[in-house]
Symmetry: C2
Subunit: 83 residues, 2 copies
C-alpha cells in the first residue's frame, strides 16, 4: 500500500478570489501581518500497490487528467509506504 | 518575511463526500488501484514578520479561529523563510 499526498496550487499570476476572501477575513480579524493568501487543494490517495515507479506514473496521470487543471494549476506529490 | 504552509484535513471517521466523488471518478476512469481518497485544503500565507515563534502562535490561532473547523478538521503547518 502506498499513500500519495498531492498538492494542487494555482499558478503564479492566476487570480485567487478564495485566497483573497480568506486574506480579507484574516485582516478584518486583526491579523495585519498577513500580506498574501493562496488557497489550494490537498489530496490523500491510498493506492493498492507497492510499485513506486508504477504509482508515480499513475498519480501523475491522474493529476493531469482529473485532479488538477493544467491550464491554471500546478501540482506536486509525494509517495509514502503506508504504515 | 515568512511563508506558512497550512494543511487542513478532515479528522479520521468524518465522512468526505468530495473525496468519495473524486475516488469514484478515478475508478470510472480505470484507476482500480485507488482504494481511498480524502480531500483537504492547502493554504499558503505570507507573513510580514521574521519572528518565528510569534508567527507560529499567530498561525495556530488563525487555524483555530478561521481556517479550520476544529470539530471535524485537523491542521498542521510549516513555517519557512521566504526566498
Amino acid at each position: 500500500m502506498l499513500l500519495a499526498k498531492i498538492y494542487v496550487t494555482l499558478k503564479p499570476g492566476v487570480l485567487d478570489p478564495q485566497g483573497e476572501a480568506v486574506g480579507n477575513g484574516l485582516k478584518a480579524m486583526g491579523y495585519k501581518d498577513v500580506t498574501s493568501v493562496r488557497v489550494g487543494k490537498y489530496l490523500e490517495l491510498q493506492l493498492d500497490t507497492d510499485d513506486k515507479s508504477y504509482a508515480e506514473e499513475k498519480v501523475d496521470e491522474m493529476c493531469r487528467r482529473l485532479l488538477a487543471n493544467p491550464v491554471i494549476e500546478k501540482y506536486r506529490y509525494t509517495l509514502e509506504e503506508q504504515r
